[in-house]
Symmetry: C3
Subunit: 440 residues, 3 copies
Amino acid sequence: MTTNTTAIDERTHERKFVRTFFTTPTAVEGGDDSAKMLESAIQLRGMQAPDVWVPDNEDATAPNMREEGVENIVDVLSKHGAEFPGEIHPRVVWHRDDPGTRYRGFRHMLELTDPENGAVEHLDGFVIPEVGDIDDWKKADEFFTIIEDEHDLEEGSLKMSVIIESGAAELAMGKLREEMGKPTNNLQRLFLLVDGEVDYTKDMRAITPTGGLPKWSELRHNTSRAASAAGLIAVDGPYDDIRDVEGYHERMTDNQSKGMLGIWSLTPGQVVEANRAPLPPREGYWLFDADGREVELEREGGRQVYTGDRVSLREDGDEYVLSVGGDELGIDAEELHEELLDLLAYVPSLDDIVDSMEEFEAAKEAGKGAIAMTQSATVVIDGIDVEISRDRMWDEATYQALQTPIALFQDVYENRPDQHGDLAELYDESVLERAMNVGN
Amino acid sequence: MTTNTTAIDERTHERKFVRTFFTTPTAVEGGDDSAKMLESAIQLRGMQAPDVWVPDNEDATAPNMREEGVENIVDVLSKHGAEFPGEIHPRVVWHRDDPGTRYRGFRHMLELTDPENGAVEHLDGFVIPEVGDIDDWKKADEFFTIIEDEHDLEEGSLKMSVIIESGAAELAMGKLREEMGKPTNNLQRLFLLVDGEVDYTKDMRAITPTGGLPKWSELRHNTSRAASAAGLIAVDGPYDDIRDVEGYHERMTDNQSKGMLGIWSLTPGQVVEANRAPLPPREGYWLFDADGREVELEREGGRQVYTGDRVSLREDGDEYVLSVGGDELGIDAEELHEELLDLLAYVPSLDDIVDSMEEFEAAKEAGKGAIAMTQSATVVIDGIDVEISRDRMWDEATYQALQTPIALFQDVYENRPDQHGDLAELYDESVLERAMNVGN
Amino acid sequence: MTTNTTAIDERTHERKFVRTFFTTPTAVEGGDDSAKMLESAIQLRGMQAPDVWVPDNEDATAPNMREEGVENIVDVLSKHGAEFPGEIHPRVVWHRDDPGTRYRGFRHMLELTDPENGAVEHLDGFVIPEVGDIDDWKKADEFFTIIEDEHDLEEGSLKMSVIIESGAAELAMGKLREEMGKPTNNLQRLFLLVDGEVDYTKDMRAITPTGGLPKWSELRHNTSRAASAAGLIAVDGPYDDIRDVEGYHERMTDNQSKGMLGIWSLTPGQVVEANRAPLPPREGYWLFDADGREVELEREGGRQVYTGDRVSLREDGDEYVLSVGGDELGIDAEELHEELLDLLAYVPSLDDIVDSMEEFEAAKEAGKGAIAMTQSATVVIDGIDVEISRDRMWDEATYQALQTPIALFQDVYENRPDQHGDLAELYDESVLERAMNVGN
């Protein structure tokens, strides 16, 4: 969503990152309050407001309420759309196997973009669920093109996002790069590739004993890869145990390691978690692999203290006895250092990342192609202090690979002024400024 | 296999699920008893009989016995084929790199389908091993077409299944959906995509220290995805440690979470395990994550009891001390509930699944799009009772994703009357009836 | 590299396996010693010398030193190239998004292959980094063709290896088999597919909390699969913690299970590790799964002794009590045998593998298609001896799948006479001879 409300073709910014994809039912049964959830969602601001908001006229809304849902979207957007800080992409109905559903989705899009309704200037695009192979994607794209023509919108100005919830759609993602250049489509309008694991599980006919969703690691990899190859943005599907904040974070960490930096959110609470998750922490900390369980060391003064029982350490004359799980290891000081290095990893703060980048940039300016970055700490196990130190070589490639969290931070800071307050609470002012200047 | 034996083109049913793919040598050296294993296999019934039976004229049969193998298949099928309860798909020889082997396979197929031999009306198709890229698949398909023409069989009536045992074949699976529609082939005859991990390991030149097979997770995902995209059925390869029933079950559970519901069986004992594996259990039970090891809680009356030593619990005034592995956690009652929820998962019975589906169907009829399903239990650790309760939201997508085991059950019940007795032993009669009616 | 130095088109051998890909900076700042690292690397021999040596005129060399780097490569190759025991493939600059970089890489290749410079007869090909989709690969291939034409080299004689460091390049690998046959390219020159995980991480925009590289399992699978489908060789990227020998080995073991037998090496020390890693051990040993941690049993006489504390065993009347982690199991002798079988795995020596292959070959000659191979041991836990025995069926497919380490060994022995001394130290002379004769 742009704050320029004069015309849809004057939108200037393009988000390069999307953290959050928040769906809201468009209508609920029982009369006047039907649009209440939409009205509440569009007025969210700051960390509670998503990067992409999706009035959901498909699964979240009962089939018999979807015409009313379209009216509600029009009402709420024409009233509040100008002030919404994120982008707005309603989800309409669609199904690769059902022409009636596809035509219904087309009529909904046509209505939502009718200039007389006053909603289109706040609309950034549509989300098309249940797509099939690439020819099915082209059918949806063709409807976008017809609508743009019909309503005098610039061709290609409405963005198209899809939900990947079939094996056919997963395979179609491998062809986007070559198909997007073809003269008979406008697939350049593609924006988000969103995994929809519940329906995907149905389409793949997968079974788990508990009925829980499979992890679908390969699907997420392939979605992230397609986004990379075709200049799009990958978003993971809903995490439906909304009370399980820890589980949601583990999922996001796993997604991030695949290059999938966005995730579906079902509640404003999940939006807050998902908006924050890809941002580096305020304070760095050490992770310790305690016999297979990863724990965060406690900082006491400048020392990093392990307080669990899974690993123990004692001195025995000149040697050390390190016990991990049931296994005892008699080793000297140097071997102890090596063993602990293997078990320790440092999670850098925003400050640390900016420091390292600035250091590398200065070295580059001075004609150096690679420098060693040192991490060190005093780690305490059972009262024994051990000095730990590790070098990592940074070259241009390292520098660029580690730049992603900064690029994301900068994208957020530029495009989401409503989150400046939250960022100022999360980080020191001086870091914010340096983070905006590094890497450019 | 149809029970209608008058003509191959009158076959009416199509299996939508295949649990078992059972191979049998077609000939063994030493004379008169050469066909004994075939004769024994074709007379299997009930849970011991596979969904797809494969007289194996390739790897299971010595190279110099394969002409005799063809004769044996003809003899055994013409004698016993009409009564066999599953489908019959002999495996013939084929190799992407060897035209002589391909021509030999063609001659065997031609012989097996000769109407004068009386076997063809019991034949559902052939299994082609060692296929390469999609053009190699088309060569095999062309031989099927020629054979159908030569023997006045309906074009496309013989099904073709392939063994995926090369990187080229794995890639070919990504093209099936677009290739199957082309006018110059009959690839619509494709039926099973079967992974063959031993030869695949050779083709990929993989090495493991112990010589054990790699897991090949990506291959299995890609096979399942291709089956989903092209309307086929995915089957995993042989599990050759036939005494390791637990390992076979773990493999099947992993496969099922990928949408690969079928598996190769080497013995009637493995057939029984594989026929039963995707069916829900008679009684539901709770799984408990005991410090990384998944254990089944013991039911005592209505309580679920953990009896291991990895997790312990004691009261300490108003608080609880939960100990997992070496780590102690002092928490209040609510936190204890949360912690245990994370560690517990319920495996529903067939009865439970049918209940939930009926409940959702009733809610839908009453105009509700989503309802909360509650799972609750009394869990006992070290003599302390803890009440556990969890809600899960069901909407149409959840309902459909969880319908797969029921759809499989219904497919089995309809197509395998010889297993009705086994199913009646596994489940109560009333559940069977409700399970056949739900979801339609 | 061939030892025939008369002309590039007389090269006769083709390596079928590549274990090591060793990069060296081509120039360092500060004058006369600029080529010192190249001179030192090209004189490596034996296990310290890689199968493929890569004078790296891209990331390892500062941007302003790359013209000097080209001169240095020419000097060093013309002086020492004839004696180098591996192949030589310089890496030049290239980028899918930058025509200036691509043209610069072309000029460097043109210079390096100029017959007047005396380096080309020691050059086997070039490594092209940062490739994009298949059309980008074709641009590079076209430059190779032009260079061959310009310098009167045989068309296709210069091999082309690529670094896979973008999602687009990962997808391109799926098309090699069909593209390599086309009349307007010479992509048959392709040789190595090398993953470059640092830049790939950037291109995929992946984030990990610690800044460590993600595992990228799917990428490595897809690279190995493409190598298999297109007759190429898969190589993993650099492992940059050069002190972490154990971690390097774990990575190689994981790679090998995917069919990726080669790996990048950053130091001669890593080259030694990587040259040895895919070779079977001199002595076989037993692995024991001690409550989730894999340990090697200690051989004492003919017995295999477990000395850790994670698993314990005691007799209790007729029964045994086996304790794994916190869980106790009261079982009889047969159950104990089964439990231990599940926890034990044997890693065969080169001698063991040759024995098994010879045994199978003899059986095949005697007309047997499958035989049982037995592994047995006396395992000692807490002073209690347990006899363990397991059969594995070998058929032709097993035989061929397990032949890969032997084929690799034979390739090394034939093509790297400079490593004969190292191999003679690693193995008994008699095994070497038998290993060269088995499987042919």
